[in-house]
């Protein structure tokens, strides 16, 4: 394999990995503060896609549609918390997981009934389809934009979580919810905030996802949620750096198998990547960067 090819693959890993990392972060944030693995998170990605689809087909420009998509995902995430998860505050992991699964099915069927059960195409801006040549490398603008957006989000989120009072209280709540409340952190506010940021990340990742695939479908949320779920578990559920690392590890595993497998077994690259993930979990059952303190 030549150096140029390796470079190409690294760029692919970075671009795919930053999408996964964004998705995983949104999931990990909510898990941190309320112990919920939000299965309906994938539907926020789908909601972003459908908002963009409806607006672009009605003549709104792509940029405005994308901004509205992100806004809608954020609002929907907040509504989800209010309507479905607040009554379940303090329920077991299993109950919360089932509830979010049910919610995800409801939303999928709303898309199916309200818009169309079929896959619909979205035309992205022309710029994203083109690519640039740097020496021997051909890089699509899509990858460049994805990597830049991913990096910007990660930096912004890190600054927010480390620097602002809200971010610090969120980290405290993730570490120990009851003690954080004793220190004056408002439970409702910190959970709502986690859902807002989670929705924002889902929206941003959704825009990237939809521009990459160029289509929306009612069940499209399933793939992103699985990737995010897996990435958070590889990294260690509850750890934010872990979620980012997990996203990149998953992307690397996927690209690796696409590259090394012969074309005849190419369709099996995803199963192989997942098996590798299970193998990682066999040796590190708590994930790569699991929180140190054992919850008793």
């Amino acid at each position: 394999m030549s150096a140029a090819e390796v470079g190409q693959h690294i760029i692919n890993i970075l671009s795919l990995g930053s999408t996964y990392a964004l998705l995983a972060l949104g999931l990990a944030l909510v898990f941190g503060v309320m112990g919920l693995v939000n299965f309906a998170y994938g539907e926020l990605v789908a909601l972003t896609g459908y908002t963009m689809y409806l607006m672009t087909t009605h003549g709104v420009s792509w940029g405005v549609a994308a901004a509205c998509g992100i806004a809608f995902a954020t609002i929907a995430s907040l509504l989800m918390e209010r309507l479905a998860f607040r009554p379940l505050r303090g329920a077991s992991f299993l109950t919360l997981l089932f509830a979010s699964f049910a919610l995800s099915v409801i939303l999928q069927n709303v898309f199916r009934a309200a818009i169309s059960p079929r896959t619909k195409g979205i035309r992205g801006p022309d710029l994203l389809i083109e690519s640039i040549k740097i020496g021997p490398l051909t890089i699509s603008w899509m990858s460049v934009v994805t990597i830049l957006v991913g990096a910007a989000c990660l930096i912004a989120l890190t600054m927010f979580m480390r620097g602002s009072l809200a971010g610090i209280s969120m980290r405290a709540a993730a570490e120990n919810f009851s003690v954080a409340r004793l220190m004056g952190v408002k439970a409702n506010r910190v959970i709502a905030l986690a859902f807002v940021i989670s929705g924002l990340l889902a929206g941003i990742a959704g825009v990237l996802w939809v521009s990459r695939s160029g289509s929306v479908a009612p069940a499209m949320g399933f793939v992103p949620i699985i990737k995010a779920f897996i990435a958070t578990v590889i990294g260690g559920l509850g750890s934010l750096p872990g979620a980012v690392l997990g996203g990149f590890v998953l992307a690397a595993a996927e690209i690796f198998f696409i590259v090394i497998l012969p074309t005849s077994v190419q369709p099996f690259s995803d199963p192989f990547a997942l098996l590798m993930v299970i193998a990682i979990l066999y040796f590190k059952p708590n994930g790569l960067l699991a929180p140190v303190s054992e919850r008793v």
Partner: protein, 370 residues
């Protein structure tokens, strides 16, 4: 009761028999209804009842693992699929097999087996696959385990859709012989219920339930949580594969889409609605959900709900089921049956309604959730 105790000296068996009797009676009643409605073994209602009985096996199998261990498995649909495909490999007539499964080795190519050998093979294949996968999965933490079963579902779907020579990919399999009828389905549903109860009251089952309530305390009192989970995992996967085999030999044609997201959701909802912790809950959840699905499917197709016009909505049945699941989780998080098997529940109901509303003496221990 003393006579009962004298006939069956083992307390364990008495508990199993006591809990199994009402459930088996319900299943036999379903059989009786089937024989009255469709004595010739044809028609929509017959198909509905047989599929219901097979669904009972699938849900009860999942209850064995998820109910006792408290760990959700999305992966059991994969084992149902393994059972179905294994059955197809050994029961489709060889002439057609050459066409649809070109990858099979010659000894499998010529095989054309009856009901029981097919069920046996499917169960063994399912158990074998689960035994291998379980080694990795059962060591993990609860949350990671749930995720890995989801990964398992995706992996299995990927294999079923792409392994052309053995599964015919997304085009699907056809031409299985009809070998399951209502009697077979009823016998295996009863068997599943009895086995699940035997497991629940057995030593390893009790250990597993202890680990569901508190893994750390269970471990501290000497329970090997990993081993208990492993046993339940393999047993319930084997039963799922058996159910898959029964299902395949009744529905005769299937593809990878039959063992995926939508099915997993339906099965999990049945379990949640009825109540995870009990076998009776699995049975009752399956029954209610099936009735609901039939009514809603009628509404969906005919746009008519007991004379009220309803606009055509795609996926209405699924949506209503999801909504009910959500409401159950909010207002009755342990499911309709909660901690009661049907026998205990009947005793409770009798005390409450026949003796002037007295509270039952023995209250179900309330689970404290953290």
């Amino acid at each position: 009761m003393t006579v009962f105790a004298r006939i069956v000296p083992s307390r364990y068996l008495r508990a199993v028999i006591r809990s199994a009797t009402p459930l088996v009676l319900v299943l036999v009643a379903v059989l009786a209804v089937g024989m009255i409605l469709a004595p010739d073994g044809r028609g929509a209602s017959y198909r509905l009842l047989v599929n219901f009985l097979i669904t009972v096996v699938i849900v009860v199998a999942l209850q064995m693992f998820t109910g006792n261990s408290g760990i959700v498995s999305w992966g059991h649909a994969a084992f149902v699929g393994i059972g179905a495909y294994a059955t197809a490999w050994f029961s489709v007539p060889p002439v057609i097999k050459e066409d649809i499964f070109p990858g099979l080795p010659s000894w499998m190519m010529t095989a054309e087996m009856g009901l029981l050998p097919c069920l046996l093979i499917a169960t063994l294949v399912g158990a074998g696959a689960a035994a291998v996968i379980g080694v990795a999965i059962c060591r993990m933490k609860e949350t990671a385990m749930a995720m890995s079963t989801l990964a398992l579902l995706v992996v299995a779907h990927g294999i079923y859709s792409n392994w052309e020579g053995w599964t015919r990919g997304t085009e699907g399999v056809y031409a299985l012989p009809v070998q399951t009828d209502i009697y077979v389905a009823c016998v295996f549903a009863c068997l599943a219920v009895v086995l699940a109860l035997m497991f629940k009251y057995s030593r390893v089952g009790l250990r597993l339930q202890a680990s569901r309530e508190d893994p750390l305390s269970a471990e501290a009192t000497g329970v090997s949580v990993v081993r208990a989970r492993y046993v339940a995992w393999v047993a319930s996967a084997a039963m799922s594969a058996l159910a898959g085999s029964l299902w395949a030999q009744f529905n005769l044609a299937f593809g990878p889409a039959q063992f995926y997201y939508a099915q997993v959701f339906a099965i999990l909802s049945m379990l949640v609605i009825g109540g995870l912790a009990t076998v009776s809950g699995a049975l009752i959840g399956a029954a209610l959900t099936n009735v609901l699905f039939e009514i809603l499917r009628g509404v969906e197709n005919e746009g008519d709900f007991f004379g009220i016009e309803v606009p055509e909505i795609n996926g209405l049945a699924q949506m209503v089921l999801a909504l009910i699941t959500l409401l159950i989780l909010i207002f009755r998080p342990n499911g309709l049956m909660a901690w009661w098997e049907l026998d205990g529940w009947l005793v409770k109901a009798k005390e409450r309604y026949w003796r002037g509303g007295r509270r039952p003496a023995l209250d179900a221990s309330k689970k404290e959730e953290v």
